[in-house]
Point group: C2
Chain length 343, copies 2
DNA sequence: TGTTTAACTGTAACCGGTTACAGTTAACTG
DNA sequence: CAGTTAACTGTAACCGGTTACAGTTAAACA
């Protein structure tokens, strides 16, 4: 592979001039530029990215940490982010946090060693303080996705989860339901707490008393949805609708209800959260809260690129959730059988 | 950030010695090693990966091209590959081919410029000859995933699609079906052709004549499944079962059948291909052919790492498909209504 | 005792770019 | 016409590692 010195010799100019041509510096005469380009072509010259990075101290790489490379949630986010970053001529390195704190730290350190130009992080488990310290210490721009840390608000791309919880619950209230169960995600995660807060606000606004026995904390997994339903049953809770903390748990709930002979949505309405691809295919198609993960990806990438350029006038990026009505919810008036009791 | 020279000064040794310690070279006395390690610790030294790459001409990076970062198919593959590669202390750079030939070429060139140590490619559109030429020209190891090119067999991690097509069809034959439609993927793709070949072999083996009018070429998309069904209908084809070229088309077919009032599996059995996550959740849960994409990822990564180390004694990695029986197929004896006719 | 050899360490030349700085024109200004 | 400036080009130092080679020491061997 040809080097810049070979090209410079071939074209009869200095290496500096070749470098200028390669980097589009304007102080090169048209004649020289053409001669150099010709030589480059002829020798099949490709700049060595290692040398370039060493000299400029920029890797032209943006690092990304996601919880899971295979989950339905992150796919669209990565897709759009990669698109944006590649269009800018840079590379995206993705690593997975695998949903353990240790792995999350690892993944971040891994990317830092790699001297990425910026980092886009989706961290589930790392506590706020640790992230704040991380941002303070590292010299490179760091973007947080799907998480709002007040101290770093202008580095966060997030969704208003409180509003999402409100929206889901409000939808059921509007349908006439008043006994509404809520299966939350792990409450050490802020998104789960926020959704719960939205659930409570919706009830309050509608004048429906908050009933602790209708709320179960779970784990965002399908199996967790089924388990949570089991706990509600043991509590002898009565309800005609369920707000799932995410789509997977909602699907778990529906499957478990079905096994118990309860028909959805006729006897019990269920709302999900995330609008994962599968939700549209599931039967009954899931009514859910859409989280614009793809926009997260695109905006996080754009923000990262901007910060790489040295910009600092960043505005907080906060998205509003939307309700997607499908077939898993029904007005209480249309409930066919008597109210559901799992006792 | 401390450099190797600062560390060497601090420890009172030469840069060569520090480098030896960092790289685990054995010709260093224990005392010196400890002194150097202490200095490294004290100064918070981290080797500069650019400089290292420049000097060694290795990037410690493996590049991967997939059709789509967000699809259900590639997720598990990336997940496992990343795991394996990170455990080896290297990085994975993933780029997406976005299902156009132009983008596929782009993605590959992008990674080559980056001077990855090896490439793992899932190419849908690039013709065999171009890939062969690519492998001949580039000095680095290239692994092909989900594709078998005879000339490069020892570089391919693939599935026996012919066997898969056979398996799916055989399953339906075993259930007593004889009028079995097949909706193929685009026949310029070898996997679609192979599955079709398997379909034919199964019929032949069972003594059922091959009927061209039962085969429709489509596009691997859900909408394509519905369209294909439409074409069968217009042909006035009669059948009691369908072999889908992949899960998405199978789901498209089932949804379309349902809209026409045909019940699945009672009136028509449908088999998918891929065993995408969604298939288990779909109602009826899809009977399908499992493609071990996660193993593709892991094995491709391992193979890539091995080739990086200079190994050359590679054996071809060919997986056998498995049938996953779920609820979308039923014995013909149990067909409730009369045979299905869409006329 | 002289010679070989193993164990360890250092010097300096690379790897292939970028870029500060200096130098050379030629046009332009006062 | 001297002085300034814009346009262009080259030299060489630098980025921060790796590693060939040479040098030193001390133990092992003949």
């Amino acid at each position: 592979m040809a080097t810049i010195r070979e090209v410079s010799k071939h074209a009869g100019v200095s290496v500096a001039t070749v470098s200028r041509v390669v980097n589009g510096n304007k102080w090169v005469s048209e004649a020289t530029r053409l001669r150099v380009l010709e030589s480059m072509e002829e020798l099949g010259y490709e700049p060595n990215s290692f040398a370039r990075s060493l000299a400029t101290n920029r890797s032209n790489t943006i690092g990304m940490v996601v919880g899971d490379l295979s989950g339905p949630f992150f796919g669209p986010m990565m897709q759009r982010a990669e698109q944006v970053i590649r269009d800018a001529g840079k590379h995206l390195i993705i690593t997975s946090g695998h949903s353990t704190l240790e792995e999350e730290r690892d993944a971040v350190q891994f990317l830092l060693k790699r001297r990425c130009d910026a980092l886009i992080l989706h961290l589930d488990l790392m506590p706020d303080e640790e992230i704040i310290e991380l941002c303070d210490k590292s010299p490179l721009p760091i973007i947080l996705v799907n998480r709002l840390i007040p101290e770093l608000a202008d580095r966060c791309v997030s969704l208003d989860n409180e509003a999402g919880g409100y929206l889901a619950t409000r939808h059921l209230l509007d349908l006439g339901h008043t006994r509404i169960a809520h299966i939350t995600g792990p409450l050490y995660k802020s998104d789960a707490r926020d959704r719960l807060a939205g659930y409570r606000r919706a009830l309050e606004t509608a004048g429906v008393p908050y009933d602790e026995s209708l709320v179960v904390e779970s784990d965002y997994l399908e199996s967790g949805g089924a388990q949570a339903l089991d706990r509600l049953k043991r509590r002898e809770a009565e309800f005609t609708a369920v707000v799932g903390g995410n789509d997977l748990m909602a699907i778990g709930v529906i499957n478990a209800l079905r096994q118990q002979g309860v028909r959805v949505p006729e006897q019990c309405s269920v709302v999900g959260y995330d609008d994962v691809v599968m939700s549209a295919y599931f039967v009954p198609a899931l009514t859910t809260v859409r989280v614009p993960v793809d926009d997260f990806g695109a905006d996080a990438a754009r923000l990262a690129l901007k910060l790489c350029e040295g910009a600092s006038d960043t505005a907080q990026l906060r998205f509003q959730p939307e309700l997607v009505e499908r077939q898993s919810t029904l007005a209480k008036g249309e409930v066919m059988a008597e109210n559901l009791s799992l006792v």
